[in-house]
Symmetry: C2
Subunit: 142 residues, 2 copies
DNA sequence: AACAAGACTTGACTCATTCCAGAAAAGCCC
DNA sequence: GGGCTTTTCTGGAATGAGTCAAGTCTTGTT
């Protein structure tokens, strides 16, 4: 888990100003991968006291634009954020409880980046989401 | 394009009652693949006159539950529906205008259904979304 | 220390989607 | 076809994530 000095260094290396909300949000994303925006807001407030939700939205957008954080949004769930970026991994989402887990790329490097027919699109990313039931939920259905 | 008789047959085969809104919605999804809910509402009203948006939402949910229609919702766009189901195809989404195109499965049958490590999840579907720029938008950026 | 650019706060607002309760229609049995 | 049950449709109001805009405060710099 990155120390607050690490966090600061990460922000500076992305040429982002270092502010308390930004530190807190980036730490929160590192500590709680796949957390949705509301959880992050709660977590940030737990550390800093009152922070406007708008600030958190802004920060998340800035971090995403800077590539420090990745936004994922499986159908039907809220926006979630994670700090693992640039390593081409994918996600498993539980249909029942919405839990998210990481999966490494199944077919080696940038596997699915070549669809059979691209219709003239210039493709730059292949996002893979596996749907299923997490261990807990599949246990409950028996 | 299915005739209204086909549409009726499809509904009955799924044990759904045949109502005018359902016929209209299912036709609209067949005619406009990847249309969002509002476009579908407009289209249905063009054919039937006034129909409550609630009815369209209900019908879409019923059709989705019955497996006659598939709901897709790429990050940041509204819910979209398509009538191609159960053939394991994927989508290309334009980052700029949100246009959606179909792509057949890149690696043959159910390709990505085997992640390297499933974390105990029981996986039933692999959803792949390719992100990029559609021909029109990539032309405009030059 | 002071400046300019960039962040944060506040509060109102948008808009897709959902909830609710009553009215209407469809399917089914006779 | 008529009556009964069940499901669907209507209309309006509510929910809630996310956005906008104007003003104030910070950060990093000169």
């Amino acid at each position: 888990m990155p120390s607050s000095l690490d966090i600061e260094r990460i922000l500076r290396s992305a040429e982002l100003r270092v502010t308390r909300p930004r530190m807190a949000v980036l730490s929160a994303v590192h500590e709680h991968p796949h957390a949705d925006t509301n959880s992050l807001i709660d977590d940030v407030r737990r550390h800093l006291g009152e922070v406007s939700h708008q600030a958190v939205y802004d920060v998340l957008q800035a971090l995403t634009a800077a590539g420090l954080v990745r936004r994922i949004q499986p159908s039907g769930s809220l926006a979630r954020y994670e700090a693992r970026v640039a390593d081409n991994h994918h996600h498993i989402v539980c249909r029942s409880c919405g839990a998210v887990a990481d999966v490494d790329c199944s077919v080696g490097f940038a596997p699915c980046l070549t669809p059979s027919e691209a219709h003239g699109y210039a493709i730059d990313e292949a996002e893979v989401i596996y749907w299923g039931l997490c261990p807990t939920c599949s246990a409950h259905t028996h």
